[in-house]
Symmetry: D4
Subunit: 244 residues, 8 copies
């Protein structure tokens, strides 16, 4: 089950992770040489049929495209700076749990990039995602309708993305009976800038039922949300099957 693919001397890919954990390995491009990222992506593609690259710049995209095998496609998501790469024949499908329901709420328009990052990861892991933007606490009346819709949809878990004072996850966690993950974003300035205020506020939240990921941690949030929701979906299905 432990399959390691080596890329020259620079990387040891954990290509078996998807099978082992149900979470694909995401290549963090930021701070890496574009050429290296291109090589790593190609190796990944050969082994698993797909690759996800986060925090990618245009020069990463170019390098990835230069290393694409015949028939491969690289799609660039402008807002979240993710590159999705696929081999011709479609990616290795996870046999693991799929079909969880992940709801996403953002406090403001500038939190979209992080929210999209989370959405893409969750969808890649086979979860269904519904997202509502710009429902922050400065105008509470914007929140209630989207929240009601997510609960009616019977969402398994909520991701609540917020910068600035980061109050939205606390408010939401006080209103629902499903787990909520707070995702602080770095959209802020002055004291508590770079998302520190939002992170602190979410950690201090007096609502129970809330956990937190790192600032701008869209990838991590999407992965854990899908992992949780898919397990729930799986239980629904498997027990259903058992009883047929």
């Amino acid at each position: 089950m432990l399959a390691l693919a080596r890329v020259g001397e620079i990387a040891r890919l954990d290509v078996g992770r998807q099978a082992r954990k149900g979470i694909p390995e995401v290549i963090l491009a930021e701070g890496k040489d574009p050429e290296d990222v291109g090589l790593i992506a190609r190796k990944m593609l050969e082994k698993t049929g797909s690759a996800i690259i986060s925090r990618a710049s245009p020069s990463h995209l170019e390098a990835v495209r230069n290393h694409l095998p015949d028939g491969g496609r690289a799609e660039y998501l402008r807002r979240s700076h993710i590159i999705l790469v696929r081999a011709r024949k479609g990616s290795q499908r996870m046999e693991k749990a799929r079909g969880g329901r992940v709801g996403i709420l953002t406090a403001g328009t500038s939190d979209i990039s992080v929210a999209e990052e989370a959405m893409v990861i969750a969808q890649e892991m086979g979860s269904n995602v519904r997202m509502y933007q710009d429902v922050g606490v400065a105008g509470l009346h914007r929140l209630f309708q989207p929240l009601k819709e997510l609960l009616r949809w019977d969402a398994d878990i909520l991701l609540v993305v917020a910068g600035r004072e980061g109050a939205l996850p606390t408010v939401v966690a006080g209103l629902v009976d499903i787990p909520v993950i707070g995702v602080p974003t770095s959209r802020s300035y002055g004291f508590g800038e770079k998302g520190i205020a939002a992170l602190a506020a979410m950690l201090q939240a007096c609502s129970l039922g809330l956990t937190v990921v790192n600032i701008d941690g869209g990838v991590g949030a999407g992965a854990v949300a899908a992992l949780t929701a898919n397990r729930m979906a799986n239980l629904r299905v498997s027990t259903r099957h058992k009883h047929r």
Copy 2:
């Protein structure tokens, strides 16, 4: 107008401040020798007829009582640790504006001490105060009724006292059309402890109409609230008079 009373070599009291600014001088006891505080309070009493001592310990209270002139009274407020001292004949009354309407909301039970500090200062400055406790955002439904009552009362300004994630002032400022002052308290632990998370959240608030005082700054919050509200009350009255 500038009247200075000297207490031995240790303090220069600004006994004219009340006349000049409409705000009494508040003696911060914390970190001061009880004996010194007793001497300062007595001198204050002689010059203005009253004294307010904040963050006082029982040993400060004892020293103050030892230095009371005949007929003077020292009252100790257990929750806010304030000592109110009065000379026999009642204190020098402010000729300045009075009668403002200050509303106070606290997020949790443990914010009471700071809220009471603010209330006492505002009342000493001649403002009317209404306070509602424990209406934090973890259970939003607790907030709406008190808020409605404060608006119906036509409050001039709101003090919103909160520790932990400090979200309440942001939410309130999003709902009302009068100025709101956020008062962060040090009731918190872990990352952002000692009120840092609450302060940061209030400074980052995406609601407009909100200013902030220092952590546990009940005295400052009460003073500025009363100053503002009294000016408003004064305008109501003086223009009314003018037109009679």
Copy 3:
């Protein structure tokens, strides 16, 4: 569904929270007057039949006992400083989901108090808990056996409690395919003391599948773990029922 009980002027209990959210309201004693805590606990008991008080000192315990109604019992958990209070007739039972499986791992002996706090909350919410102590990464060989047992038990979610360098949640999340919640503790000294190093490490974790709560946040961790696990248990059961 929104039931508010008022305690004098000091607290507004959210006694309907358990019905609404499946999470009981936990009274944080730290920084509150013992007398106030006693009154709040009694009111809680009258409304819901039980009360959980965290971070309680012996003087809180004494005050709670003084306000117990006839037949009520207050149990003090020495390591986690929790007081569990029950009315004579047993507490109001949650009709919500129960029976989730929560696994807890601690890195060191001094993390026990926080882990126990989490365990108690999860058990109060009706989850089953298995805990293994002192399996930190300084001696990796101690980890594998407990982890294997938790996976064989088919745990729904893992709480991993660690102070100092906080590496254990990262290592565990790299090995399992269920959600992991990192719980940093304040057991540390020097640079990164008070749990800051552990919190930062968990937020930075390069393993996916991990979320975090605040430092020493045993109550929050236990609540969200039980909420998640109970939903999973519920799906197992309800779909089973549906098909009968």
Copy 4:
């Protein structure tokens, strides 16, 4: 009263805020896609007749101009980086209070951009503004004349803008009997850089009568100053009317 305008999937404009709160919604451009800002501004213009965009770059300006309806105008304020957008027929006028008197003082020449931001917001909200620049405490003699003029004008509230050591608001609040709002700016370097020293100094101020906004928080300062001053102006006028 609660009117929401949606802009594609990215923003939910609170176009009723001006009516509800007397404060217009200000669009923060920083960190947002220029195209998105253009769309949001246009929607705002259609609904309310005007839009204010803060922290705008030249590319934001260009995008806003590209989305202007016929006859619309976009004015760019070079120092404060604000874009003011108006529809042909003039903006929706606030029926709320207007005419407050807001005094602004800056400590140094480099604080102008933040001060101008505050001035523009206050003027947009219908307040009258007088501003004096470069009167910091390193040369106290520069301060007294401007201050005297503001008091003679009977200013309702003062904004005091300062970077570096941030002492000016403390000194001013010690001299006047109207509320003072300290506005720390990020003009500083070394220890306490980015305005942290100024913010801390203002929060610690031993003068009473002072509240604070976030570092570089010109928009917030202008809004709360106008809100307060307009309420005062309103009281003057309405009581006058009542007695006619």
Copy 5:
């Protein structure tokens, strides 16, 4: 000139420092075993005829008294927590410069302990000291008279001691043409507590002519002030002598 006295294995006294630098070695008692402090003080006394011990607790005083040689005296200064120890025959007199004029100003009553620490050290080094208390910027009118007196006395250097927002040194340095040393104190709370705000403000001061010592650094401030002032006094005298 380099004379080292060893105290058992625990300390290497720099008894020649006074001759070499004109500054006596000050023994910091805080965090040291009382018995050890007693031994060190005795050794110091034997070698130089006097000893200065700072941040001393009553138990340090007791231990010092137990180790006093016949005829030695230990004086305890209550506010500054300094112990001055003298041998019977009077202390070894510095042959170095003496007679400088050091002015000290404190912002508030609670800064006295640090100011006294500085005063004692400067006096021990042979400087003349004049001190004025409680002249902080919240009431500027209190400052001008003391300052005028210090300038009329032709002070060589000023120590300005302040906690909270630490604005006084900046204001003073803007008004005088002699060097000013800012001494931040830890008297503060909330954001910037423990003197951090005061230190930052003094380092950021826009007045030129100001240097700073550490928070609560009375000993260091007194030493450098006396060193500077004594050199000035010395020049006055020596050139006078030279020309006789």
Copy 6:
């Protein structure tokens, strides 16, 4: 080689660590229940014949003594707060390398406790230790003689213990050609207190040849110094043996 001893449910002792790593397991008492520490120490004693307990309070000592088996001895080192426990028959001797030469220098008298902690651990691991106290950079002339003696002794490695400005390790590493480990201590106050300044200075040191441990990390410093020095001693001996 991997031997685990369990103590009730609270601890999993790594009793084979000494054999595996040449470093004994040190029990950190701070923050642990005395009773628990007593149980852990006894179990350790049974398995390995000795136990080292650091940061122990008198109540830890009492509990350890209560759990001593017949003939066991517990020695308390007052300065370093270490308890050394031995079974009657002497401890399990390490077969690993011994006899390294560890030199220790302290900057000031108040750094002794940390230095002693390091010394004890290194000696327990079989290294020879020479220590010189109070040779900090404020009087450089005190440093050269001790340093010369350590080099003449042919020390394998140096531990340099310093608080305050932490300059000594940098100066020493600039003068010698053997590895230096900087050990910052928490003896400091004001800005950079609790050893943060010393730690930062050591990490920033412009001398090469220096590594660092955590603030007050005497145990860690002693262990790594002995590990390194013993390997050196071992090479001396083993190659000597090989060639006989």
Copy 7:
């Protein structure tokens, strides 16, 4: 003596400062509009005959040159980024003290820019300056010769400029009997970067006789050094004169 020159609405120049304080007003260009800096410099030139502009970029230089009156000269110092501007007829000469002796030492080559900034200011104020570069503590033997030369020259005061671990001022202050000013620079990386480690180390210095300015505070350091040294030089001269 208090002369204020106004520059449009943007600046209030303190042109009398040089006469009043013996320190010229230095215009901080950083963060200011080049055009504004040009206007301010011209006004300064008209009033006093010279201007000093610090932290100037090439675009500031260009703007200053564009506003130069006939015959004016602007000199750009490449390392310290200072612009020195002179009117044709030479600058207004200070009648105040001149001729002090300021010694400057830098720890490393990268500290030159800050040291040069200090040197220029001191020279502009009429002091004599001697500077020695790159004598940091990593190679102590480089320090002694320059130090000896400065003492033989009878320097009145020393500026010691250092980044990284900032140990040099402590070491120097332990060796000399004149005042030392530590000037931390931002040349550092990792923990304690941006000069924080150097600042902290200097504030914590166990040598007495040392004060500190802000990180990269060359202007402030040069001004206070010249102020102090000039006063000393003045005393030498004036007493000499008095006795003739």
Copy 8:
């Protein structure tokens, strides 16, 4: 032995350091003028035959090449940004210890640049280096094989390079019986960014046998590793020789 070469007025090279300490002087280019770096490198080359320049930009490289003497070569290492310069006749060879065995492990692909910096320094000092990349704790199975190979090679010391949560050095130090040096890198984001989390985690490591260098401190880590390993290699050889 103390040989100083001066470069104009800007630098005092410690060209004897290699002989004295066994560590070459490394020129830090960052923050230095390219021209100055070129001059310094040339002087170094003349005196010692080689030069190492770290954190060099392309413009540094160009300047170095411009100042190369005939026959000199400058090699640029792209990942670590080091310039290695050699004179024609080969560099002055260290007579000191050589031949140590240094093992390097990196947690992730983006840690390569720091690891390469360490490797180059260690090799320049005559050590043998083996490096394994991308073996972080998120996939523990990747670690064991490389570690086994390094132990079989009988490495004298290990450098473990890690960013993000920095857990790898703790895990490795728990598994081996040779000294481990943790090298935190700045590859991280959000809370604990810039390597602070990794540094804190390594300082807090509960494994003994670990020391730490500054964030991105590849040069320092390589130097101390080679110093230690070479001393070990030397002992092997010299005792071997002695016995021949």
